[in-house]
Symmetry: C2
Subunit: 233 residues, 2 copies
DNA sequence: TTCATCTCTATGTCTAAACTTATTTTGGCG
DNA sequence: CGCCAAAATAAGTTTAGACATAGAGATGAA
């Protein structure tokens, strides 16, 4: 093992990864079992197990009881995205954060959002439209529905003072979230709020979060044109 | 612990998550240390450790030596995306997969791509443009650069027969990948290849992969209008 | 042959105990 | 009072050993 690393398990991860990348172990090959690797690396089997589980999670290895561990043939590419908090993202870029609530009222749920939130169409929820600015330039517009059934107290909050996101995140941890990325041509309203021309391509993030009481909130975020979301693996 | 679950660690994960969601433990609170929880749940400390590490990875807990474990105040939202293999995605949708190579030649690297691949501008790489179809409708267009320096043998491959993605994935596992999502208005060429009108909003995925020899490939994928990429957490 | 059942094996999980290490707290010293 | 060193603490890691369990392969009956 040429790798030096903080932990033995990490060293094994690196070494196994190297063997795969260097094609000593090829796609589809069965690799030695945990007990053998434990002897080879001079560690306990539990340590090998931990390392191989990490690599399996990463998608490089396929592990099955009795069948052993194989190098994945067609590794599906996984990537972890971190959805930053708007305020933090803007402030990290050295700009001044501000936001403006365009509308806040109770409205009946449209069908599309109702489906996403698994709530009956027409149910009255809090509907919020907000623009977030970095300096004096619009950064993103959000169109949010909040379910007071799962987030009691939401009716009484003044979302001019605290952003809906921050209030929700602080008060209603969620169990599960659905997310979807897509691209849309800016509508007249999007364009006006983002101060861009109608039709420009916008990255859209649609996110719905749930706790044990049901859907907490569903939000559609439209980023300013040119915005790029980064992920690594 | 009301949760029944396959493993003790998973049961602890569920129970701790419940306590957080039910606000028995609030954002910022310090939770009992591993030893105490081990006693409470009647398991070994290593089992509690495993459970809490999972929750920390998920972003619900902050752990620091000596300082203890706290409920994260502003959990940054993480999501795991799986980038499917085009062929599999199309075939799963019950459509027939096909692809057409529009161009395959050696060309000097433009500056933008060179920066992404950490290669000198002007270096000659293999440049490939491909359209992937589901049935008779274009599904995505890819514009790919392949570095034979990190992927030897690429010059000799006929990418009409096997897609570049499949050939690369089968032969050159990577160590690291950069990914970026954005939205662009379809250029005249994009529009023609995707059989849509110029200017329609396209979801763009830009991905560059590296092995120990450097950048293997950098690809820009433009999805057909309306395409949505899903993630859950 | 084909199907059901048994056996065996490699991974999955857990434990108790020890040691390591980052970080906070404390307490002494100037 | 401020600074630094020492002590204490909670998480991080590893180990040897044990038992659980999925599932591939062997065996045998119909």
């Amino acid at each position: 093992m040429t790798e030096r690393s903080s932990s033995k398990a990490q060293a094994i991860v690196s070494e196994v990864r190297r063997r795969i990348v260097d094609r000593e172990w090829r796609q589809g090959d069965r690799i030695p079992d945990e007990a053998e690797l434990a002897v080879e690396f001079g560690v306990a089997r539990a340590t090998v197990n931990k390392a191989l589980q990490l690599l399996a999670e990463e998608g490089l290895l396929d592990r099955k009881r009795r069948a052993g561990t194989h190098v994945t043939v067609n590794p599906a590419r996984k990537a972890t995205l971190t959805i930053p908090i708007v305020r933090e993202q803007i402030e990290q870029a050295g700009m001044e954060y501000s936001h403006r609530v365009i509308a806040q009222r109770r409205s009946p749920l449209p069908a599309e959002i109702a489906a996403r939130m698994a709530l009956p169409e027409g149910r009255e929820l809090i509907h919020l439209r907000t623009v977030h600015y970095g300096g004096d330039r619009p950064f993103q517009v959000e169109d949010r529905w909040i379910n007071p059934g799962a987030a009691p107290g939401a009716e009484a909050v003044d979302f001019q003072r605290i952003t809906a996101n921050e209030w929700l995140v602080r008060n209603f941890p969620w169990l599960h979230a659905d997310m979807a990325f897509s691209a849309e041509n800016a509508s007249a309203r999007d364009a006006r709020l983002l101060e861009t021309r109608q039709g420009s391509a916008l990255l859209i993030l649609q996110r719905t979060t749930f706790n044990d009481l049901g859907a907490i909130t569903s939000v559609r975020v439209a980023f300013h044109p040119g915005y790029t979301m980064i992920a690594t693996h």
